[in-house]
Symmetry: C2
Subunit: 456 residues, 2 copies
């Protein structure tokens, strides 16, 4: 299998062009106006899976955006690997901050710049190309199933139900996906823990109309002032969340576990320099790695109300809004947390405003068993490609479907990510180094080999 | 002069059509994209002043939007009345909340619905039509000067300088304007006090880019969370402002003055019902009339940051913003207050964020002497028209140019407003009852008569 490098070199341009075709479709799942782009993107994936060598590839409806499902069954006695990825992407605003158009991919300094370049079009396309090589060279050592969904960025609302209906078809020994990051270019890692998520929208309403801030100011509650006070009260000065029972189900790691976790290379000076911040901020008594890995958070992801245009308008708005996300750690139930938040937020509303809380979405946290064949195969593959045994890490991000796969299908997932922290996923100027794209294809090819061997 | 009523009746339709012509020009002064509309609106006013009978009407440049100046000098021995108004209007968003197009005036249930219907196109047009009647009937008892500016809604940044340059031309005995409200349809009132204003915009910046809330959440300060805490800390639970020395120059009214102030009819139940609120909110120990009339306030007029679109995006934004206005009472200097705010806001910024504060505009408070000929003439005129002596009130609003007129020109202003609290100025569905428009024309006609008599 040493000629995978040659194969990549020979097909480098074609690989990029194919990936760019996927990227150019603005498949933003959070926005209804991109509904048609979702189907277009699914069809594009179907085409590429068929070209790569699957026996069949179907576009299957769900309650939301369609799923692309493809498979190649070569021998019933061989292990089955289910590749998961998502073809939807995050919104792109503020567009003005992008140095090139978000949906017009371009390679600069060896990096592909575009929305979805990493998350997750670039990373999931690694699997299509590794699979293509193994099929073309008649060296595929496993049966392979592909599952690409179009709702990951909105927390996969339809996929669990679809999985329940297609349980048999999806039967596999392991799920593999690339939708996470490595520690850095020289330090391979495998994500073995994910945070869960509860995401809500709040509305604080005072009067039935916008009011002149001079004629009513001082006598009628201003919903922005009130919302600010309510949000401020949700955390203490150290960022600790002040919602009753919020930390009740959080499992505290022991000293040994915390020590292991902090072995991952981390340079606070570089971290601050990269973000251009004077200082980090987080819960007292925890390192930055712990704060993002094993501790829950509460972040306002968006806030709006009143006059936000140019110049000055003197107004007391009728309503103010905020989108609030809480990252959860394994053992915290996202439904319980959403309910706690809802009850708490309503309980702290002063009587002179009306408060609404809407649960936008949620997902459970997850921990991968690191002694499984899947994890070991991924670890060996990365060691071969990068020359170092990958470090198991707890990621702060959430991929809500991973815990659902475990619950519904009873299959564990291996998060073999090739992204870098500098890839700016979810931000302007998202990018993905071509180097990682190629190394990923090499590593995934090896993963199949090792997984087949370990499963014998 | 009893035929003013007949004159109004005979010309009712023409008056409305002429006013609608002014209203249809979207002269929003806070937005650069309406720059050309400002000139267009000034020219429209020029046309109407000439048609009403001024000797001359000019459009005069300022550092910002032009001023319309017109005059009719009939006899040097007669008193001079300077009519002030503004042809600019407030922005109209959220447009979706309007029941009819903001710049397409329509009369429903006896009210003109449009942006500027009251503030201040409708109210200032009262003066044009009263003047027209007096000219047409050869009964004008005073010399009249008209001054219409295009920057009142952005706090008249250019007018003071222009007044300094045209001091001689503007020489008058009194300034009269209609840009305020009456207590209600049956209760005439004259505004004899205005609050000042300091309006600033704040920016709180954390990292140099938007961050994935999973990967960075808990470890890097979220500028929205921080801004919420900073805003929350600006006021205590009762709405008292916690900026050092903020209340230092506030003159406390004595018990007698407070008692007089509270004589104005006010029905808390109706007030709450009108706004559809459970309760009012404001400084403890003060009535609603006092809270809006003699006490300063701090209101967030707008806030924005992060993802505010449809659905859920998990992001820690790089920056969050707010527009903050403080209504000031006479003797508080808006420049001093803006500086106090700026210093305070910067001082409470935690080291993990960067804060910018921009002073958007400001204006001084004002008190009208109620024993002057101007006030007495206005009072008599309103009594004749409404059958009740008007109540002198302190308004919570700000008309920054009024104190500048006093300082620069040495002329007092009479705020003879015909708006109603239900006119929704600065809000969606701004309106102005045709009844008040007509009563206003009657009253202003009488004002000239009484003023000329009192000045003899």
């Amino acid at each position: 299998m040493s000629d995978i490098k040659t194969y990549i070199k020979e097909n480098e341009e074609r690989f990029l062009n194919e990936l760019f075709e996927l990227i150019r479709i603005p498949s933003i799942s959070s926005s209804v106006e991109h509904k048609e782009d979702m189907l277009k993107c699914a069809k594009c994936w179907q085409k590429h899976l068929l070209a790569a060598g699957v026996d069949k590839a179907e576009i299957m409806p769900t309650d939301g955006n369609p799923v692309v499902y493809g498979e190649k069954i070569i021998d019933e006695n061989l292990p089955v690997v289910l590749v998961y990825g998502h073809y939807d992407v995050m919104p792109v605003d503020p567009v003005s901050e992008w140095q090139s158009q978000p949906f017009e991919p371009e390679v600069r300094d060896g990096k592909i710049y575009a929305r979805g370049a990493d998350d997750d079009k670039g990373q999931s396309f690694i699997h299509a190309k590794a699979f293509e090589f193994l099929v073309k060279t008649n060296s595929l050592p496993c049966n392979v199933k592909f599952l690409l969904e179009g709702e990951e960025e909105i927390s996969s609302p339809s996929l669990p139900e679809w999985c329940k209906k297609n349980k048999k078809m999806l039967q596999s020994d392991i799920i593999i996906l690339s939708d996470t990051s490595m520690i850095n270019q020289d330090t391979p890692s495998i994500t073995c823990g994910l945070r869960g998520l509860a995401y809500l929208e709040v509305e604080v309403k005072s009067a039935n109309r916008d009011l002149h801030s001079g004629l009513y100011g001082g006598a009628v509650a201003n919903p922005i002032n009130v919302l600010a006070k309510m949000i401020a009260s949700l955390t203490d000065p150290q960022g600790c969340i002040k919602i009753k029972d919020f930390y009740k189900d959080v499992i505290k790691l022991n000293e040994r576990e915390r020590k292991d976790l902090n072995k991952a290379p981390f340079n606070l000076t570089e971290y601050k320099k990269d973000l251009n911040i004077e200082d980090v901020f987080g819960e007292e008594g925890y390192t930055t790695i712990e704060r993002t890995g094993i501790r829950p958070t509460l972040d306002v992801c968006g806030i709006w109300g009143g006059y936000t245009g140019e110049g000055a308008k003197t107004v007391i708005p009728s309503t103010a809004y905020a989108k609030i996300s809480m990252r959860l750690v394994p053992n915290q139930n996202h439904k319980t947390i959403a309910q706690l938040f809802q009850d708490h937020f309503k309980s702290i509303a002063p009587k002179y405003v009306k408060v609404k809380v809407k649960n936008l979405h949620g997902g459970q946290g997850y921990v991968t068993p690191i002694h499984s064949s899947g994890y070991r195969a991924a670890s060996k593959a990365l060691r071969d490609v990068y020359g170092k045994t990958p470090i198991p890490v707890r990621s702060g991000g959430s991929i809500s479907i991973i815990s659902a796969f475990d619950e519904i299908l009873g299959i564990k997932s291996i998060m073999m990510g090739f992204g870098l922290p500098s890839d700016a996923i979810h931000s302007a100027n998202e990018n993905f180094p071509v180097y990682n794209f190629h190394k990923g294809i090499e590593a995934v090819t090896l993963f199949y080999k090792y997984f087949a061997e370990l499963m014998k």
